[in-house]
């Protein structure tokens, strides 16, 4: 279980950070997700790893939705936070890879992209989120996701493409030169 926890934690943590936009809140949500996992693991019957991650991500989706709802209700009774304070709330240099932490400009750009992505992810439905997170953060195959979701692989590809299209639409048009950099890295 320790190995499984260590493999699942980064994916769940990244998803929650992006969706919640605040690392302090994210830590509470992530802790709640894994503690729920311990309490309800007996109800899970999965024969492969993709099944476990999908189950865990569904818990994460519910917890994030509830937390955002509570935060929204709380904020409606308060003045909005100034931009600088909001940055402090969600962003911590310790969250990022070391090469970024040493380059303030790149760090700023990175933070903006992740913030925008978090908002864009919220516009996807649960199944699309599951496919995108499974594919891009957990590195799962189309076939594994198809098996878990009980859909043909072709349907998963369509779900993935539509989800990426929605994300791209929300994030804006590609920056110059991005095609060359990203298309080959992926």
């Amino acid at each position: 279980m320790a190995a499984l926890y260590q493999r699942a934690l980064p994916t769940i943590y990244r998803y929650v950070v992006a969706r919640s936009q605040r690392h302090d809140l994210a830590e509470d949500i992530v802790a709640e997700i894994f503690l729920t996992m311990v309490e309800t693991i007996g109800e899970l019957r999965a024969t492969h790893e993709a099944g476990f991650f999908a189950w865990l991500l569904r818990i994460a989706q519910r917890k994030v939705a509830r937390a955002l709802q509570q935060v929204g209700q709380h904020r409606s009774h308060q003045q909005p936070l100034p931009e600088s304070d909001r940055d402090l709330f969600w962003f911590d240099p310790a969250l990022t890879a070391t090469d970024l932490a040493s380059d303030p400009e790149a760090l700023h750009e990175w933070r903006e992209v992740v913030q925008d992505l978090g908002v864009a992810l919220g516009s996807l439905n649960d199944e699309q989120q599951l496919v995108i997170i499974g594919r891009f953060l957990q590195g799962q195959s189309i076939e594994a996701l198809a098996q878990e979701l009980g859909r043909p692989p072709g349907t998963i590809r369509v779900l993935q493409f539509r989800a990426l299209g929605t994300l791209a639409e929300r994030l804006g048009k590609p920056r110059r030169g991005q095609r060359r950099e990203t298309g080959r890295q992926t």
Partner: protein
Amino acid sequence: MISEEWPDEVVIAVDALHHLQQVAVPPIFAARLELQIRARARALHQAETRQERSRFLPRLTPIQRRLVAIASVLLALVLAGGVVASAAARSLPGDWLYGLRQWSNQIALSQASTPAAKAEVAIQQLHGALRDLRTEVSDHRSDANIGQALTEVVHATQQAQSAVAAIPAGMARTSVQTDLAQTLGEESTTLHQLLVPVNWPNKVAMTTQLGALGDAIPQITSVTVSATGKGLLGLTIQGQHFVQGAQVVVDGKAIGGPQTVTATELTITIPVALWDGHDHRVGMLNPDGTAAEVQVARGNQGQSKGNPHATPVPEATPDNGNEHHNTHLTPGS
């Protein structure tokens, strides 16, 4: 990482997802959370153990306890069919996630504060292993999965027995010993019930475990092969606890009922073709499903000289010459 060429219109999304991958989990948070998870798992297990033991069962006789258990199950079935479905959905030996339960069990054992508490946890885990085994068989899971569940039962039994033996003499030990004895009785009953539907290797393994629990089980002490002519061999199996209706099993396949059956000896005539030039596994199966098996090593060919069938007759016994041959026996699989 996924290696694909992406269409221009989605590249920005793929790029953003790569940015997200650079979010690092703070190590202090990860370590703290792992401790929290362990603590929660331990607390859950202790609560479960306390809940089960704090019920009024200690004041009831074993028969009353069984009746209460049956009534509880029926009540649960009527009132909460969903709960039963949920319980059936627990991971079992052979499931990919079963390792999680084993890990959780190990934590619960290691966190027990006293030898008596540890023994109680071990006994609860034995109950769980027996429940899993019953589910594996009733759900018609694979033979390998059933075998794994049986291995878990054997392991949990040894663990519970060791844990109880480690409790210092006194009231606590006496109480836990009573619990263990009842649980081992349940194990014996369960294994006897499951003997019939399982496959041959699992029958042999279950019988072995029944023997470890102190039940009278069939045992083979010697196998004798003798040439009878006309392409036939005589097979004599000696041992104990054979009963009428027993069958002889060669290499996992029943070859029929013996010509003679006593509590200590079975004899059967088999075609030479069944006994080629290799080692064989010879077993016997009682009607109640208890079984025994031994490996019959191919004997010294030089000593089988004079045998017209040139079968892999094992080494000759000193008193029987070439007509009868005892075998090299090793415990069956």
